[in-house]
Symmetry: C4
Amino acid sequence: GLPRLMLNAADWQAAAESVLPRSVYDYYAAGADDRTTLAANPAALAAHRLRPRVLVPVGGTSPATTLLGSSLAAPIVIAPTAMQRMAHPEGEAAVARAAAAAGLPMTLSTMATTSLEGVAAAVPGGGGVRWFQLYVFRGPARATTEALVRRAEAAGYTALVLTADAPVYGNREADVRNGFSLPPGLRLANFMGDAPPQDEEGGAEQGADEEGGAAAAGGGGAIADMDASVAGGSGLAAFGDAMLDADLSTDCIAWLRTLTSLPILVKGVLRADDAAAAMAAGAAGVVVSNHGARQLDGAVTSVMALRGVVEAVKRPPPGGPPPGVVLVDGGFRRGTDVLKALALGADAVLLGRPVLWALAVGGQAGVAALLGSLIDETRRAMMLAGVPSWDRIPPGLVVLPDGRIADDAPVDASGW
Amino acid sequence: GLPRLMLNAADWQAAAESVLPRSVYDYYAAGADDRTTLAANPAALAAHRLRPRVLVPVGGTSPATTLLGSSLAAPIVIAPTAMQRMAHPEGEAAVARAAAAAGLPMTLSTMATTSLEGVAAAVPGGGGVRWFQLYVFRGPARATTEALVRRAEAAGYTALVLTADAPVYGNREADVRNGFSLPPGLRLANFMGDAPPQDEEGGAEQGADEEGGAAAAGGGGAIADMDASVAGGSGLAAFGDAMLDADLSTDCIAWLRTLTSLPILVKGVLRADDAAAAMAAGAAGVVVSNHGARQLDGAVTSVMALRGVVEAVKRPPPGGPPPGVVLVDGGFRRGTDVLKALALGADAVLLGRPVLWALAVGGQAGVAALLGSLIDETRRAMMLAGVPSWDRIPPGLVVLPDGRIADDAPVDASGW
Amino acid sequence: GLPRLMLNAADWQAAAESVLPRSVYDYYAAGADDRTTLAANPAALAAHRLRPRVLVPVGGTSPATTLLGSSLAAPIVIAPTAMQRMAHPEGEAAVARAAAAAGLPMTLSTMATTSLEGVAAAVPGGGGVRWFQLYVFRGPARATTEALVRRAEAAGYTALVLTADAPVYGNREADVRNGFSLPPGLRLANFMGDAPPQDEEGGAEQGADEEGGAAAAGGGGAIADMDASVAGGSGLAAFGDAMLDADLSTDCIAWLRTLTSLPILVKGVLRADDAAAAMAAGAAGVVVSNHGARQLDGAVTSVMALRGVVEAVKRPPPGGPPPGVVLVDGGFRRGTDVLKALALGADAVLLGRPVLWALAVGGQAGVAALLGSLIDETRRAMMLAGVPSWDRIPPGLVVLPDGRIADDAPVDASGW
Amino acid sequence: GLPRLMLNAADWQAAAESVLPRSVYDYYAAGADDRTTLAANPAALAAHRLRPRVLVPVGGTSPATTLLGSSLAAPIVIAPTAMQRMAHPEGEAAVARAAAAAGLPMTLSTMATTSLEGVAAAVPGGGGVRWFQLYVFRGPARATTEALVRRAEAAGYTALVLTADAPVYGNREADVRNGFSLPPGLRLANFMGDAPPQDEEGGAEQGADEEGGAAAAGGGGAIADMDASVAGGSGLAAFGDAMLDADLSTDCIAWLRTLTSLPILVKGVLRADDAAAAMAAGAAGVVVSNHGARQLDGAVTSVMALRGVVEAVKRPPPGGPPPGVVLVDGGFRRGTDVLKALALGADAVLLGRPVLWALAVGGQAGVAALLGSLIDETRRAMMLAGVPSWDRIPPGLVVLPDGRIADDAPVDASGW
Ligand SMILES: Cc1cc2nc3c(=O)[nH]c(=O)nc-3n(C[C@H](O)[C@H](O)[C@H](O)COP(=O)(O)O)c2cc1C
Ligand SMILES: Cc1cc2nc3c(=O)[nH]c(=O)nc-3n(C[C@H](O)[C@H](O)[C@H](O)COP(=O)(O)O)c2cc1C
Ligand SMILES: Cc1cc2nc3c(=O)[nH]c(=O)nc-3n(C[C@H](O)[C@H](O)[C@H](O)COP(=O)(O)O)c2cc1C
Ligand SMILES: Cc1cc2nc3c(=O)[nH]c(=O)nc-3n(C[C@H](O)[C@H](O)[C@H](O)COP(=O)(O)O)c2cc1C
């Protein structure tokens, strides 16, 4: 059974800290360098205040929305997070099932410990909306990337999330201290070819181990082992530095569009000029993100960057690309956070670590409970703020940290 | 006897925490979600600074004022707070007697554990000013609301306080963890028909229990038991979600005016547009409030919202409604807080939790001591600030948190 | 001998806390209400930053200055603080001797435990500059005030400091909890007639006791006992509330000028309009002060109020009074604080509590050490900031807490 | 061997605190007065936020730069810090070797415990870039200064760093409490004549002791002993107060130019007017610095002062001096700090205390490890921010603490 009274993300995190091995917990919790951005993400959200409307009929309030053609129970998407089977044997499959049941999309990481086909197959009846997060590899491994795109489309993923903020891994010192690497028995399953879905504890990993050397396109076998020869450091960082294409540019978006018709969301954008460039290159939208504060410490918070990006993506210049979607992530934990994001112009928020904490503590049921209470909180926040639906957000709902009402404040002036 | 040296609200709170059952203390102290607004309410008050005038004759300083036609010893009103008999057997009756003796109005909550008639009868000689706070119920229970209005007017209550910020209850996690509900022996007395005033400790509750199933209009009996079938959660939240009319709109004000000639104050307003709408719909004034931070976490503080609402209510557009009164609550604890509120344009402040703490520790005498010292503090603050009376507040008395002098700063610019 | 390595005011305070009786320490340290202004005074000073000039010859730097016709070793004046013999048997006499030796003026409080004549006589050779602080009493006790003025002038005091911010005492809760009153054997010596200087420990108090009932004008004998009949509260507060003239106005300045030709400084001014009114009424200058945060909690800090007052006093309107002097106090502890005050336009700073701490720990030698090191610090700060003398402060030395350079920022705009 | 997992400056500092004698650690760590500027230096850096660009090819990113004609592996220079042999027997020689190996310049302090010739000779093959920091002495000791300049040029030092912010020493109370002075066996080696490089532990100090009385010009022997007769205080402060020329002015720059053709950098500048004056007097550039918060407490942080100085030095008025170089120091610890400095217009940053910590813990290897990881961090920060090289910093990279984008904000308005 589930532990009772897991009321919020902090509850799940505290419980997860007590059940996870230290190096796994630290890897999930990590931020770059001195973690100033890690602390700033939630602090910036809290510093945005709400001006609720009252005496607005809110009996029929619904947090439901539509995103890239799919119906969502709420504007919440599971963020891509690597290696979920470290948290729970069912890993990515459990998350996929919980997300589908809750009516929310899940984004699968390139660095998953369950193959993308396995995740798709894990959801009973093939329900649910799934997106695929893409890391682009360099040199010969570029073929692996290409194969992943084709496989994701074939497996029914409906959007690609191209991660742009990782030309190199961030400096996460806890991982170095812990000598973090993939625990024995787990592999980066997307590089083992079409691995079968992982149904049973224990068994699956062994199978994966056995066939590991074999199938995957472009030398995926070696990748799957995250086989970095650096001792006493973070295996993941070494792996990332060896594999990731640091020369990624907006050209990559055009290249991806030659491979697939899936909409491409560029993840890791914190500037309006980058957002505009991504849109001009053919992206369907962007994710405003500092990668959960795991990459560049000192980066601005995503909520502070949001308004400028919304302006660029939603109101393109004449003759420019069509308006796109804007997602945002980094420290979103409460229904009121979701409400703030949407009032500032986002279409939805991505949820990262809380999913890992709930997964670690309660597996699929844990994730289901987390998502359920977050949807509830979102609805309650809407009611208390006088927002019966997302198309009826009152003007002037959000006050910026500097005291200006967001809707009255020019985007490019001061006030970061 | 009373404990000595209860000098301020913090003293009363600390003492109350040691005498009250944990779940009652937590219910009274609770704030929504992460309690950011709970912390922000007093912090925002403290961040407003005073520029005292000196060499002004203040020997005859008086904090007395007039409000809705009544004379008050000071611009302080007892806020409506539910279920005061959890704090002390004499509950609402004790508060009413102390308030009347101090020359301050008391607002009785719909969710009182003493009936409105009982509270009126509890004050010797029928003295004192009493207002009635109204929660509007939905569906068939709307008849209960109507009955309450008529009963309040009949019992001599001189104003209605319509709570607008509770279309649903806020997420107060301590109550959920504690499985909070009405302690045995207590009932929501306004729904039991005309319960007699509670004169004796112990006896009254039993009587209430016995006649509970009977009288009240509109199914009040079931309401009185706060009978929510949700286990392991907050009984009050379940009750509220089941009963409250989430579709309340400004129409409700017009409807209430068909039932009563009492002035109607709309409580829970944090925006000038809402205040203007309430006035246009016939309200006599508003209470600027975030419900003591118990509803929407992240809501702006009431003191920051005050100036905008004052502008809307006191300076209506040509052809608009007559100017009304503006009250404010949320974290007001000191005479200097009262002074700040009045200098920013409020007519009076409401006092919530401190009354509960004093009641818990010292019953009627405790509340009397609290009110007495707060009136004293208010007078002392006026003298030290060079304010002999409320119509002689010097210009430029208050500095806003952003450093601007309040009287010189436009209301709608930055500076929340 | 003196304890070694008392390097700064914090050292003296920590040592004083360990040698003084709790109720005396608390009385000296006290602030009003929640002590927000007490915390704000030093915090506001620290939030003013310095932009030092370099490559300016500073070998001959001197902190000396001239004030009201007297030469001072540095722009530092001993603030009036009541009842110094609670700190040390030699009390006010020790402070007077240390101040004279250091070349700094001492301001004697009306509420001294040594008579003003005794203090004047205590300084060998009658050296040193002494000012007299005046509380104005009400009703028949007004005659006592008049007598004090004449006695001060006769005894060689060269300025009157009229305290304007105490129409009533502030709410200092520690004093109430401690039931603070004058320790046995001490009396308010200015009300006992011309008491002789206190030369010997022990003996003097007794003498004072014996003659107490006799001499002083206007019923001074009763005043000297600070005889308040309120039990369980602060004796001083009760005394103050009974004696102080709450109806003081600027008329008092004119009245005082009929009694004396001494320059009158109005102490406790935090607003430009009050400063202008005091100057128009004949004051020679003002002390920008919140009374060491002991009166109105929430009052702005004196350093924030300073620039506006300087403008009013130093640049009077055409046809107005001549420019006057501006002093400031409240939390000044370091040479850099003195430097900041002078760069913002003050003529000197007053030093309150640190003198009491040094007196408690080391008597006259303690005060001498404190003053010596503060003068040293001031000189060092000037050298490091490129300020060889007070008439050569570079423009743009001080940055306000809001980031503006003080000399470039209009006084009345935002930025408190 | 080196301790493992010294990942950042904080690691080195913690380890150094455990290996160094308290009085040495305290001397290195010290800040003036209440250390407000010491805390402000890193806090101000952290309050500057980054707006990283993405999808910029950064595979070939290099932090290399050119400064005063030399090639640097990164824009990082070792700051002059006195008496490095207190940290490690090899002291300045070890630092010089590590810096040369890393491709970074080292600045040797006048107050070194290894002679400038010794340091030059310590680097195998004479590699590396070395600058010499100059304290200018007064009176007869001015000849010592002159000799130092000639010796530095002769020994191959390629720049002079004239320290302008020390006309007198700052008030570092820890040193006074510890009675800090040079440990036995160490001497200020630059004043002992041409001391040989220190190759062996133990032996060298003795040699130095023996010849100490002899050679150096201008009474250097006495200086070398830092022989201050003040007991119970800081030996260094007494020494400094006795020796330093407090009347230093910009004339000194012209004087130095008569002695040497080396470029002169003026260190300790925090104002644009001082920077302009230094440039006009013939300086090649300035170091924006508050001396690591060791001189004037309350001084603005160097990062806040940087933009104004850059403007003055890089964009001189028509007919003014040629543009110069701008360095900055004070609390720079991370690659992101280096990135921020360069984005704000600096040419390089100086690194002070971290070098001492690494030296104390690991000698030359420690310093090498520290420098290596800082260069790595700088490169990683550049990649993550979309900065392939220093001439391709995107506009709008830095957000100031007040929320304005640095490139859009006028230098002289508010926002310190
Ligand atoms: C443990 C962990 C692994 C992550 N792995 C990836 C990944 O593989 N790809 C990616 O684009 N983002 C990854 N992220 C970033 C998340 O997608 C997301 O941006 C971030 O976690 C959001 O912030 P939050 O955790 O505060 O909600 C990861 C984040 C975490 C915490
Ligand atoms: C225990 C408790 C019960 C409350 N019950 C009600 C209520 O029944 N109706 C209502 O309008 N407000 C209610 N409030 C809100 C108060 O009327 C008031 O807005 C708030 O307490 C003011 O803030 P303060 O407690 O910081 O003074 C309640 C508040 C508390 C603390
Ligand atoms: C113990 C104490 C007694 C004081 N007594 C007097 C007084 O008798 N008259 C007066 O004008 N101010 C009095 N003050 C206020 C001081 O003159 C001065 O304004 C204040 O102490 C300055 O602040 P500082 O203590 O932070 O330096 C007193 C202050 C203290 C701390
Ligand atoms: C122990 C120590 C000794 C120093 N000695 C000198 C010196 O001899 N000459 C000088 O110009 N600056 C000296 N400095 C200042 C540094 O050159 C530099 O400005 C400062 O340390 C930079 O700040 P950081 O330590 O935070 O990196 C010294 C600093 C320290 C910490």
